[in-house]
């Protein structure tokens, strides 16, 4: 263990971690622009056009604006928790990427309980959201925080059931082994109907709810809560929350790619000449596009409808999926 600390391994881990965190931190820049462009074109308008060629510099302008915004902590707020909450939300979402294998040999950690780790650490970010909402001492923020917490824990149960189907197929909790179990073309990916299509459906819907995106963005509903749990936040602290939202979306997309879309595997063995990490990135980007597509196509759900969908439909469906998958494994 001591040799490991003193050896090059530590330096390699440090470099890899810096690269990974740097990438995740800078991803919101291109993707806010892409998201607004997609929004524009779906709604038959051009989207941002003024700053740079077709508005490509818009994210930099927005980022600079957020840097220069006054940083307000309300008088009635719990000052310490108010300051800590954005970190508590952002850090777990970025820590998820530690367990994600981008290619067969490109990962930060090859932990043997990867799936469990991802679900557990993703769940921690709820603390930041509910504490941020509570510490603000504002009615909207409190309601937003409570809604977010109830929604995220509800859909975490559904997501857990969906993921168990994948674990049963791969007989492993290790993310790399789960991808390897899906090798050999698109027909062995877990998204196929004879594998875990229902599980993927549950995972996708729960993913929208976990990352607080439309159609399940009720914790932040502008129309009713004026911003939800981050109503009272401004400046950089607000952008940490916004960044956490993007990191949440990317982590859900990356986990979904690993669990259901065959990770770094090509759709056909003949296409293996293209390196695995490129396939991984293509799949994640397509996944992100679905998130944005849904965002600008669906209206927001009502809160009781959202909870009914989670508890009365997805959880029984998830239980049924686990039992049917188990039965098939037994009879095969």
């Amino acid at each position: 263990m001591i040799e490991f600390v003193l050896g090059n391994a530590l330096i390699m881990i440090l470099i890899k971690s810096f690269i990974a965190v740097g990438i995740v931190f800078s991803l919101p820049l291109p993707f806010t622009w892409i998201e607004r462009k997609i929004a524009g074109h779906i709604q038959v308008r051009p989207g941002p056009m003024r700053v740079g060629f077709h508005g490509v510099l818009q994210p930099f302008a927005d980022g600079l604006k957020l840097f220069l915004k006054e940083d307000i902590i309300p008088d009635g707020a719990d000052k310490f928790l108010f300051r800590v909450a954005p970190y508590l939300t952002l850090i777990p979402y970025i820590a998820i990427f530690v367990a994600i294998p981008v290619a067969g040999n490109a990962y930060l950690s090859d932990m043997n309980v990867g799936v469990l780790y991802v679900l557990a650490i993703g769940g921690l970010s709820i603390y930041g959201i509910i504490l941020g909402g509570w510490a603000s001492n504002s009615k909207y923020a409190l309601l937003g925080g409570l809604r977010a917490a109830a929604q995220m824990i509800s859909y975490e149960v559904a997501m857990g059931f969906a993921v168990i189907g994948v674990i049963m197929m791969a007989q492993s909790l290790n993310m790399r082994e789960i991808v390897e179990a899906q090798g050999g073309g698109i027909l062995s990916w877990n998204i196929m109907p004879h594998k875990q299509l229902i599980g993927f459906y549950i995972f996708l819907v729960a993913g929208f709810a976990e990352s607080n995106r439309i159609p399940f963005d009720i914790p932040e509903g502008e129309g009713e809560l004026g911003g939800g749990f981050h109503t009272e936040y401004s400046g950089m602290r607000f952008s940490l929350f916004a960044m956490a939202e993007y990191a949440a979306m990317f982590s859900i997309c990356a986990i979904g790619t690993v669990l259901y879309l065959g990770g770094w595997h090509a759709p056909h063995p003949a296409l293996d000449v293209i390196p695995g990490f490129i396939w991984f990135i293509i799949k994640v980007v397509c996944f992100v596009y679905i998130f944005m597509w849904v965002r600008f196509s669906w209206p927001r759900y009502r809160y009781d409808q959202l909870m009914a969908l989670g508890w009365k439909f997805l959880i029984p469906l998830g239980v049924a999926n686990v039992l049917v998958t188990g039965l098939f494994i037994m009879l095969w």
Binding site: L146, R237, W311, K312
Partner: protein, 125 residues
Amino acid sequence: MPEVNVFQDYLPVMIVMGITAMFAFGAVVAGVILKPKNKYPEKLGPWECGIEPEGEADAGKFTVQFYIIAVLFVIFDVETLFLFPWAVVLDKIGMFAFIEMVLFIAILLVGFFYAWAKGALEWVK
């Protein structure tokens, strides 16, 4: 059993968390240095669409349904935790484990449908 090196597996988690905290803290500090400082009571009060804030945002004045959901979550999340090790070794221990888990899930489903029938999942009463 493959050898598990906890140190090698989980050190990257600490490092990534540390780097993220550093980046985030740096951004906030830079914002604090660059920001304008112009505070007045209206700005520091809770935001309520520009109307005078009315009363306190008391933690406690929200529907009891949130507590019920939290209690149900504890039960079902623990249940899924029991399913994880079972799912990994199901192939090896066979039919016995499968039937046992069917019984376990059946008992939990009784509780689930009881909660459902009692209206614990209803938000509009």
